[in-house]
């Protein structure tokens, strides 16, 4: 589904991503792990077109993503969350989700000529979004402003928003960072349900227990390059991974 | 409706009350005959041109005081209601609306800037109210309406006269610098057409924004074309002085052609050498003539000094305008159609500004005279 071949990106002298290649198969949950500064978020930014790579190709379902504008990449069915949660503070939860929807009501011509259809589509989308909020257990807060939610709740909304985009490939940037165990379990179930629905997930995470529980495959990055790929069990035993982490004094 | 909305509505209601109360209590003239006659006045009282609203106001107040002292109009005192035109069309329109519709005024003295008169004219014309300007020179005013009059000559005459003077002096090549305002551009256009028609050549036509005070590059451009003469036109005497200063700083000593600001007090005082020998056209106003001298002395007595913002002719035209309107009111009361006929009938009426005749467009046919400055004094050429 997603093929990345020797991706390169440097900022000034620092090589953030160096000859990084890996792939993500259809309907797979892949974890992207690695010590801090390994270039994980940079890879996400390259995939979503926020920054342009210096070298390398990325193909999604065969179509190249190089140089495609972020909003076009998103329309291809790839969507992401952000390390620092980015909800729309002055909009309500339902509105935050409705933004993720591609609707005909967004185009002025439709507004002029198909007002009834837009109303109908709006109602439909609104119901779907309320369902999603219910899925993450925030239905009662749907008319509250995103600004007033707790950190954990905002994480859930971000995931609900991902679902609202009906995207096939979900890029999650540390979905459970700083989240209490109860919420973490809830997110784990949601990810499992998504896999059953045929979604493909690539997520960055430091919480190894969570990674080992849920990931089908793990890709390890170090100094911007892929040093190991395999099932969670294989990765645990892989000496290069240990060295990469231990060398960096990270609890494994 | 939370607290703030209530707060907002209370402000709006309060404002309406203030406006309503004040208007309700302002005396309406229809009533008894002895009530004072209200004369409207629109002139610049704020903004850049406020400086030369002052001489007009002083002359008007003096005339009104004298008229009321001598019994006013058949016993009814005249009361002047001043409104700020701020030398801009938009303000003048609001001012005229207020004077006509709230104070129910039938005769308005003003505007001073041409922009004011043009802004107020449509409102006055629509309500058949007399608008009499003592100082607007723009040619556009000639056709601006039957109820629109002035006793100040159209700039056309000033521009044309000076252009002819330059040709007569043999200065066939002239460079122009004119401020970007209604008045200055209108007069410059007339100067250009007359000068070119008479065989002269305009080497360069420079301009500057009203809020800028650095004309050195425009003057450098003019200097480079080494003209025989310079035609300098500003909106205010103060700006005119600054242009003269920078002309002399740049060592340009060509003959200066300009307008009546060359005789303004401030110029004669602060820019004595620079203005020496300048040739300009001015409504034929002899401030030595007995009536004129008497007026200027009275203003000097009352205000301690003659505002140098404008040449003395503006005192005279304002003073004469008030007396002329008074005579019209005596003749016709507040019937504006009768006043209109009366004003159109004015021929060779003696006044402090000289003999006044009003033509069929409501303009004053006023002769311009060529003058020059010799060691600080205005003299006929």
């Amino acid at each position: 589904m997603l093929h990345i071949k020797n991706l390169n990106k440097h900022f000034g002298g620092i090589k953030a991503v160096k000859d990084c290649s890996f792939e993500v198969k259809e309907n797979e949950i892949v974890a992207l792990i690695g010590p801090n500064g390994a270039g994980k978020t940079t890879v996400f930014n390259l995939l979503t077109g926020f920054i342009k790579p210096d070298k390398g190709h990325v193909h999604y379902k065969g179509t190249p993503l190089l140089g495609v504008k972020p909003y076009k990449i998103s329309n291809l069915g790839i969507t992401r969350t952000f390390q620092l949660i980015k909800l729309l503070p002055k909009l309500t939860l339902v509105e935050n989700l409705l933004i993720a929807k591609q609707q005909s009501g967004e185009h002025l011509l439709n507004i002029m000529f198909k007002p009834k259809y837009i109303k109908h589509e709006e109602k439909e989308n609104r119901n779907h979004c309320v369902e999603l909020l219910d899925l993450v257990g925030l239905k009662d807060k749907r008319n509250h402003y995103a600004k007033n939610l707790s950190y954990g709740q905002q994480k859930l909304v971000e995931i609900a928003r991902i679902l609202a985009t009906d995207a096939d490939l979900l890029l999650l940037d540390e979905p459970v960072a700083g989240v209490n165990p109860v919420m973490r379990a809830k997110i784990k179930n949601i990810l499992k349900k998504l896999k059953e629905q045929g979604k493909t997930i690539l997520f960055i995470e430091h919480d190894m227990k969570f990674v080992m529980d849920i990931a089908d495959r793990v890709v390890v990055l170090d100094y911007g390059t892929e040093i190991a790929t395999g099932t969670p069990k294989q990765i645990q035993k892989n000496p290069r991974v240990l060295q990469a982490y231990l060398g960096k004094k990270v609890k494994l | 409706m939370d607290k703030s909305a209530k707060w907002v509505l209370s402000i709006v209601v309060l404002l309406l009350i203030v406006v309503g109360l004040f208007v309700a209590f302002s005396p309406s003239p229809e009533g008894k005959e002895t009530r004072p006659i209200k004369l409207g006045a629109i002139m610049p009282l704020s903004g850049d041109a406020a400086a030369y609203g002052i001489p007009i106001q002083q002359a008007t107040d003096l005339a009104i005081k004298e008229i009321n002292a001598a019994g006013g109009v058949d016993g009814r005192m005249i009361k002047v209601v001043y409104e700020n035109g701020a030398c801009a069309g938009k303000e003048a329109t609001s001012a005229a609306q207020k004077l006509i519709n709230v104070d129910k005024i039938k005769v308005i003295l003003g505007g001073l800037c041409s922009g004011e008169t043009l802004g107020a004219a449509p409102v006055a014309e629509e309500n058949k109210v007399i608008l009499f300007s003592p100082g607007s020179g723009s040619p556009d005013i000639t056709k601006s309406g039957d109820y629109i009059f002035r006793n100040f000559p159209s700039d056309a005459t000033s521009g044309g006269k000076v252009a002819q003077a330059a040709i007569d002096n043999g200065h066939k090549k002239v460079a122009i610098i004119a401020e970007q305002t209604e008045y200055a551009q209108a007069v410059k256009e007339v100067f250009k057409t007359t000068f070119e028609a008479a065989g002269g050549e305009i080497l360069t036509d420079e301009s500057y924004a009203s809020d800028s005070s650095d004309f050195r590059t425009q003057l450098t451009k003019m200097k480079a074309t080494n003209p025989d003469g310079l035609y300098v036109l500003s909106q205010t005497p103060a700006k005119y002085g600054l242009v003269l200063k920078q002309i002399s700083e740049l060592g340009m000593n060509q003959q200066i052609y300009s307008n009546e600001f060359s005789a303004a007090e401030d110029i004669l005082k602060d820019y004595k050498e620079e203005i020496e020998g300048a040739i300009y056209a001015e409504p034929s106003f002899d401030d030595k003539a007995p009536k004129a001298k008497e007026l200027l002395d009275k203003i000097l007595a009352e205000h301690g000094e003659l505002s140098g913002a404008l040449p003395p002719v503006y005192f005279a035209t304002a003073y004469d305008a008030v007396y002329l309107l008074k005579d019209a009111l005596v003749e016709c009361g507040e019937d504006t159609d009768c006043i209109k006929k009366f004003l159109y009938g004015v021929t060779d009426r003696a006044g402090t500004a000289g003999m006044l005749t009003i033509d069929e467009n409501g303009d004053a046919s006023f002769s311009y005279v060529l003058r020059t400055i010799k060691d600080g004094k205005a003299m006929d050429v």
Binding site: - | V12, L15, L45, K98, I100, D140
Partner: protein
């Protein structure tokens, strides 16, 4: 009769500024496009409509709509900086653009007669009736009401919601597949269109326009209206317009020496702007974003 004529005059001016405030609120309040050059659209609309009427004698409705359309097209010029810059950089760029427009109006004398301005702009005649006074007010009210309800409807559609998303965080909007460039340009186009209409209404009412009536201070006045009334609330823009037009007019009736009125007028609305920015940043009617959605 007289008193009503004065009130009608004030209501017409308020109506024109309501349309300007509403259209600017779409850009600043809803899309977060900090446009200080709104007066440029107002001027382009006024001059287009006046020149068409004066030179080609076009019927009012055509010159009126043309005013809006040309202002809209001009907004595409403003869109170039608007797409790339953000925050106070954008504000200063649009400020520069408005000054350039004023500069062009003053200097392109062959088209606009420069400082001489355009006198004698014909009063509009629709279906044979020449509109003055009360009938003109009716026209202004109709246009004002149409503007209000059209914008209110637009804001409730998904299009309106995306504008607010762009205001909140462009990056999120981009990551959710929204072509931010297109929406910003469209928002600016609509905002400019209505400002152009307001310009045409002004030109045919005052019948004399010159560059001084379109200075930067007009933009600041319009912005103050939406700040006073409440950023991102259409009703706020209306209230703001009413207050900031009535306040200086009320000054005219207070027994103040007439030379102080001009300065006082400028001080009053400047101080009001500053105080409100400090005390009630969301303006009088602005919805406090803490609570649940009230409307």
């Amino acid at each position: 009769m007289a008193l009503e004529a004065y009130i009608i005059h004030i209501l017409i001016i308020i109506g024109i500024y309501v349309i300007l405030a509403l259209s600017l609120d779409l850009a600043i309040g809803y899309t977060g496009l900090l446009n200080i050059g709104h007066v440029a659209f107002y001027a382009v609309g006024a001059y287009t409509s006046a020149l068409l009427a004066l030179n080609f004698g076009t019927p009012f409705l055509i010159s009126f709509l043309a005013g809006g359309i040309i202002a809209g097209i001009f907004s595409l010029v403003v869109a170039i900086p608007a797409l790339k810059l953000r925050g106070d950089y954008l504000a200063v760029a649009t400020l520069g653009l408005a000054i350039i427009v004023e500069n062009i109006l003053k200097n392109w004398t062959s088209l606009t007669r420069g400082p001489l301005g355009l006198p004698g702009i014909p009063k509009p005649t629709i279906f044979g009736i020449t509109l003055t006074g009360i009938t003109y007010l009716a026209l202004v009210i109709v246009v004002g009401v149409v503007t209000y309800y059209l914008l209110r409807y637009l804001i409730k559609t998904p299009f309106g919601r995306i504008l607010q998303a762009i205001r909140e965080d462009e990056l999120v909007a981009k990551s959710l597949g929204k072509n931010v460039t297109k929406y910003k340009t469209q928002a600016l186009l609509i905002s400019a269109f209505f400002a152009g209409l307001a310009g045409s209404l002004y030109a045919h009412y005052i019948t004399f326009i010159d560059p001084t009536s379109f200075s930067i201070l007009e933009s600041v006045l319009i912005i103050s209206m939406i700040v006073v009334g409440g950023i991102a609330t259409l009703k706020g823009a209306i209230i703001g317009a009413i207050i900031l037009i009535l306040l200086p007019e009320a000054l005219r009736f207070l027994p103040l020496p007439s030379s102080m009125i001009g300065a006082l007028r400028q001080i009053i609305y400047a101080v009001l702007l500053v105080v409100l920015l400090i005390k009630r940043p969301q303006g009088l009617l602005g919805k406090k974003t803490e609570g649940v959605v009230t409307t």
